[in-house]
């Protein structure tokens, strides 16, 4: 900077100054920090008039946000002849705060002592507020994740224990007294046990649902072809028993949580197998469409998966309902289950930044359509 100003004729120098004045908030102080010059932008942002600033130090706009050491460090740097850069929160005349990215350049005299300092600033209040907001959100998210974790542990232990005891003691009463209590009393006991068992299933399902968040693993390349094969082998018995069939080929590899992809496939396949028509063996077909195009520049490459079945289908007016936890479209005596499967699917897809929906007509089978990004940028 020193060299640059030296090399410039004074006309160019004043042009340069006026250019900087237009672009940035500028202040000049003497070696003790007393303000000798401020530009319009400085006055505009600080809401002080020029006369109120000249002859004062920057303490006028001190927001008391930064510790003393912050400014000591700054003075140490610039008084030794080095440029200082940092982010400072200042207080305007009306009491409002603003953030500026600040560069202070010292200019030394012939003996190497600082003569004056030029401070060039850019306002970054918006960015700072956004960062602060982001920090608050992150903190909130951390708290709610912790709560979810606590809840999961409560569900896994504290809720299960009394429930297991209801079942255990009902079982022991049944064992001890089955010959001596009346038949209807025995029937009540069986109902107690069945309800407790159902409660246990609900708790376990709730736990599965919360695990999508609490047991989330980082994304890595996952072959959906492999995932589909695994899911089919897990469901082998059910497929064979129902004379069913699962068809798929050429499924892509995407960045995902493989455990969760496995669960997604398992849930969607078993759904397709479960809701089959009485006389027709279930056939579930998985199709994939890869969309590499990033033409809009915004949408990253994604893939669409179609899980198409020949089952009983559903009325599309219930579309929102089927992805909600514990929502069912059928009585428990018709089809077993608590209504957790698709809710878990949606939670998994959400976590992967994708979407899930379905098309169907009653009696005409259903197609579940999942759209997932192929790659994820850091984090996820």
């Amino acid at each position: 900077m020193k060299k640059l100003t030296k090399g410039l004729p004074s006309k160019d120098l004043s042009l340069l100054m006026s250019a900087i004045d237009e672009a940035a908030i500028v202040a000049v102080t003497d070696k003790s920090g007393t303000i000798t010059y401020v530009n319009k932008k400085f006055c505009a942002i600080s809401k002080y008039d020029e006369e109120e600033l000249i002859g004062k130090t920057h303490r006028v706009i001190n927001s008391h946000h930064h510790p003393k050491e912050f400014f000591i460090e700054m003075w140490k740097t610039i008084s030794s002849g080095q440029t200082w850069e940092g982010e400072i929160r200042n207080r305007a005349k009306d009491g409002t705060y603003y953030w500026v990215n600040t560069t202070i350049v010292p200019f030394m005299d012939a003996d190497g002592h600082p003569e004056h300092y030029i401070a060039v600033r850019y306002e970054i209040t918006e960015r700072k507020l956004a960062e602060e907001q982001l920090r608050i959100y992150a903190k909130k998210l951390e708290i709610s994740n912790q709560e979810l974790q606590d809840f999961a542990s409560v569900a896994a232990h504290d809720l299960q224990e009394p429930l297991r005891k209801i079942q255990s003691f009902a079982d022991r009463v049944k064992l001890k007294a089955k010959d001596s209590i009346p038949e209807d009393a025995l029937d009540y006991l069986i109902r107690v046990q069945a309800s407790a068992k159902r409660m246990q299933t609900l708790i376990n399902d709730l736990l599965t649902y919360s695990r999508v968040t609490t047991q989330a693993k980082p994304f890595s390349p996952v072959s959906l072809e492999q995932i589909a094969k695994q899911a089919c082998s897990d469901l082998e018995v059910r497929i064979e028993q129902g004379n069913g069939k699962v068809i798929f080929k050429n499924l892509p590899t995407i960045e995902a949580d493989s455990t969760q992809m496995h669960q997604l496939f398992l849930n969607l396949l078993s759904n397709g197998l479960k809701f089959h028509k009485a006389e027709t063996p279930p056939v579930v077909e998985i199709l994939a469409e890869v969309d590499e195009s990033t033409n809009s520049g915004k949408s990253a490459p994604s893939c669409k998966l179609f899980f198409k079945d020949n089952g009983i289908g559903f009325e599309e007016k219930y579309l929102d309902r089927i992805f909600t936890i514990f929502q069912r479209l059928h009585g428990r005596h018709e089809y077993e289950g608590t209504g957790i499967g698709l809710a878990v699917c949606r939670k998994i897809v959400d976590r992967h930044g994708g979407t899930i929906t379905a098309t169907s007509q009653k009696g005409e089978g259903a197609t579940f359509i999942i759209s997932l990004p192929i790659k994820h940028h850091q984090g996820a």
Binding site: Q160, R172, L207, Q215
Partner: protein
């Protein structure tokens, strides 16, 4: 080597109903070993340390097997498992986690901390009796147990 039936089993469980149930199941399984009970992690550790001090070359008073509940007051099963596996005098005692949970992370964590088995408490009493019978057969008939005191000299 201790006589197999004289090797005590230690049950750590804060739930009195479960303790009672385990006791009855052990009786029903005709396992002759003495059964001792503690009700939280701290009590378990101080019990083990006391037994260890009282033991002699000839007379090992440490339990041959610990049935450990995971959720206990003061110090839970996971913490106590960690402590036992860190202690040179106690680390070789086989520990069977016997808990309500069947959560994957509990299973994983227990084995990582050095549990020898993980069993979810059965609901039916008959099943519990069967589990106790199998445990007894496995740990006192099939398996050779370390004689903690001797191995430590």
């Amino acid at each position: 080597m201790r006589c197999k039936t004289s090797i005590p089993i230690l049950v750590a469980d804060d739930d009195m109903d479960d303790c009672e149930m385990i006791k009855e199941a052990l009786q029903a399984s005709r396992l002759l070993n003495e059964v001792q009970f503690v009700h939280d992690g701290e009590e378990l550790l101080s019990f083990l340390h006391r037994q260890q001090k009282l033991s002699t070359q000839a007379n090992n008073l440490l339990p041959g097997l610990i049935l450990l509940d995971l959720n206990m007051p003061k110090m839970d099963g996971r913490e106590v498992l960690k402590e036992i596996r860190k202690s040179p005098e106690l680390q070789s005692i086989p520990i069977i986690v016997l808990t309500t949970s069947k959560a994957e992370e509990d299973i994983m964590r227990s084995y990582n901390l050095g549990a020898n088995s993980f069993i979810t408490k059965p609901i039916e009493f008959e099943t519990l009796v069967q589990v106790m019978r199998d445990l007894g057969r496995y740990w006192f008939e099939i398996v050779e147990l370390p004689d903690c005191k001797l191995s430590e000299g």
